[in-house]
């Protein structure tokens, strides 16, 4: 990693809500690196802190959040940057795609108006030129009849088209990093595949780095170069997508992969579920947070927190008894 400084380098990121009842630690000691043009997937269950991580990067966390650690973007510390600096980065350097395309577009403004506005917030460009850029970008994200769509309101578009517009809006000022928070969760399965293919094509073509947040290991595995698995606000395993999916070392990653229903499985086959439930926000553990649900638990797991280190399968794993090891 010495040759090329990472586009995004996150160190010891912690996010807490001390004023909430009970006080919540959403994220704890998270380290992540993302090089320009690469695709990193963050996987975890609801409440694991995925969205908190995504929102923290462009400084979009709610006012009650207490954040510590460092977030370096192109070498610049952006955590705690003044609002004006963050606003200049948002859209221009860091694009953001929200989960629900239904809710992410302002209902009373035409699609074109919102696209042009997002572009003109960062570039001094005339309305006509901006409109032309917006039309070309809509064509690029495979919106049919792009010129007419610019004059339409969000409610006149289907869910899939709307998500394409949201993606176009995030990309219009050519950011170096695109953050997508569960971008396909609200969509039909058939549309989901199209959108994932679009993400792949766009990031390769434009050289945009992608940080993809998802609860779906299969989605992340199909699109990303690297994967980080979050559990209860900590990274429990990270590494190349192939290694994480092919030879998961953490029992949680293994269970997640096993819980993804295979298409060819018979309908009678029992669904593999992870026993127990995800820790509630505010719950704390002296040892490993996954220990209560873990089939490989030993006494040490409940008393001592495992640290992230090289695992047997070539991934970084935080586990006292990783799978594939000889213990």
């Amino acid at each position: 990693m010495a040759a090329e400084p990472a586009l995004l380098a996150i160190r010891s990121l912690a996010i807490g809500y001390p004023d909430a009842t009970p006080p919540v630690e959403a994220l704890n000691g998270v380290d992540l690196d993302l090089a320009a043009g690469r695709r990193l997937g963050i996987v975890g269950e609801s409440g694991a802190g995925k969205s908190q991580l995504a929102l923290a990067i462009p400084g979009l966390l709610p006012p009650g959040a207490r954040v510590s650690g460092t977030i370096r973007f192109r070498g610049e510390e952006i955590l705690g940057s003044p609002p004006a600096r963050l606003r200049a980065l948002r859209g221009a350097a860091i694009g953001f795609v929200f989960q629900d395309p239904q809710a992410a577009l302002t209902p009373h403004l035409k699609v074109g108006t919102q696209l042009i506005e997002a572009l003109r917030a960062h570039e001094s460009i005339g309305v006509a030129a901006a409109r032309e850029r917006a039309r070309r970008l809509l064509e690029r994200v495979q919106v049919p009849d792009a010129a007419r769509r610019l004059g339409q309101y969000p409610h006149e578009l289907s869910g899939g088209l709307r998500q394409r517009v949201v993606i176009a809006m995030a990309l219009i000022a050519s950011p170096a990093l695109l953050i997508a928070d569960e971008p396909t969760t609200a969509l039909d399965v058939t549309v989901e595949a199209d959108i994932l293919a679009l993400f792949r094509a766009l990031t390769m073509e434009l050289g945009t780095a992608l940080l993809l947040i998802s609860h779906d290991l299969a989605v992340v595995g199909s699109l990303c170069d690297d994967i980080a698995v979050l559990y209860a606000g900590r990274v429990v395993e990270s590494g190349a997508a192939r290694a994480v999916l092919g030879a998961p070392a953490h029992p949680y990653t293994h269970a997640l992969a096993a819980a993804t229903p295979a298409l060819e499985a018979s309908a009678d086959a029992p669904l593999a579920a992870i026993p127990g439930s995800a820790p509630r926000p505010g719950e704390t553990f002296p040892g490993c947070a996954f220990a209560p649900r873990c089939p490989r638990r030993i006494a040490r797991c409940t008393s001592e927190r495992p640290l992230l280190g090289p695992g047997p399968g070539g991934t970084q794993v935080a586990c006292h008894r990783p799978l594939g090891g000889n213990r």
């Binding site: 979009l60 006012p63 606003r87 809710a103 302002t106 209902p107 009373h108 917030a121």
Partner: protein, 277 residues
Amino acid sequence: MRRRGPGLGLDRTARIALGVLALIAALALGGPSLSPWRVDQLDWAHVGVAPFGPAAHWLGTDRLGRDLFVRTFAGARVSLLIGLLATLVSLLIGVAWGAVAGYAGGRLEALMMRAVDVFYSLPYVFFVIVLTVTFGRSPVMLFVTIGAVGWLTMARVVCAQTESLRHREFIAAAVAAGVPTARILLRHVLPNLSGPVLVYATLTVPGVILMESFLSFLGLGVQEPAASLGNLMAQGAAEMEAAPWMLLVPCTVLVAIVLALGVLGDALRDRMDPRGR
């Protein structure tokens, strides 16, 4: 999609309401000059005559022989003017104050809305008396004082509405796209407020008109011999048993204004909703 006829795409009831309002407004502006009588002219030959009476007293006369048609529509002019201007004043202050407070949130919101609470707790009538005594009694003063107090509720409505909007994803999306705050407020937040603001404004206009009549009744509002719907009704109420038309004529006009504004506000709210019906 509802089929849209001519005339702003409003439905039939709303078009009738608009027509009634337009008619009253036209009569308020031009009506008094149609009659041979002046607002303060006494006709001793015809004191307290019923509507459709002699000597072109189309809606009768009051107990001093003044023409009720002329006085009612001159009064409607004053009432509408005060209603509209005071609502405009409360709209401007209330929307700006509430939108800024609601969008800023946190400490600034708390500070701004507690200020509203403090103003609210001032005894209103006392406040108006102090203002009118200090600055003199005039219609201008009247709408300034009513507007200055009327914005408080508007600010609360707008603040609550903005606060719920602030947490909507499309605002977050606009912020994430780097759109400047002022532009988000003007383009993404304000138009979304137009529904509740419009509905509340259509409630404010008749509220202000009623407030004006109450103040006029106390002698703090529009002064004789000038007419307003409020002081006409106050006089009419005194003669209710002998000459009910003195109360009924200004009352009918007031009810028509209030009702038409309500229907119109409802229809406008429906039309503002981009999802259609």
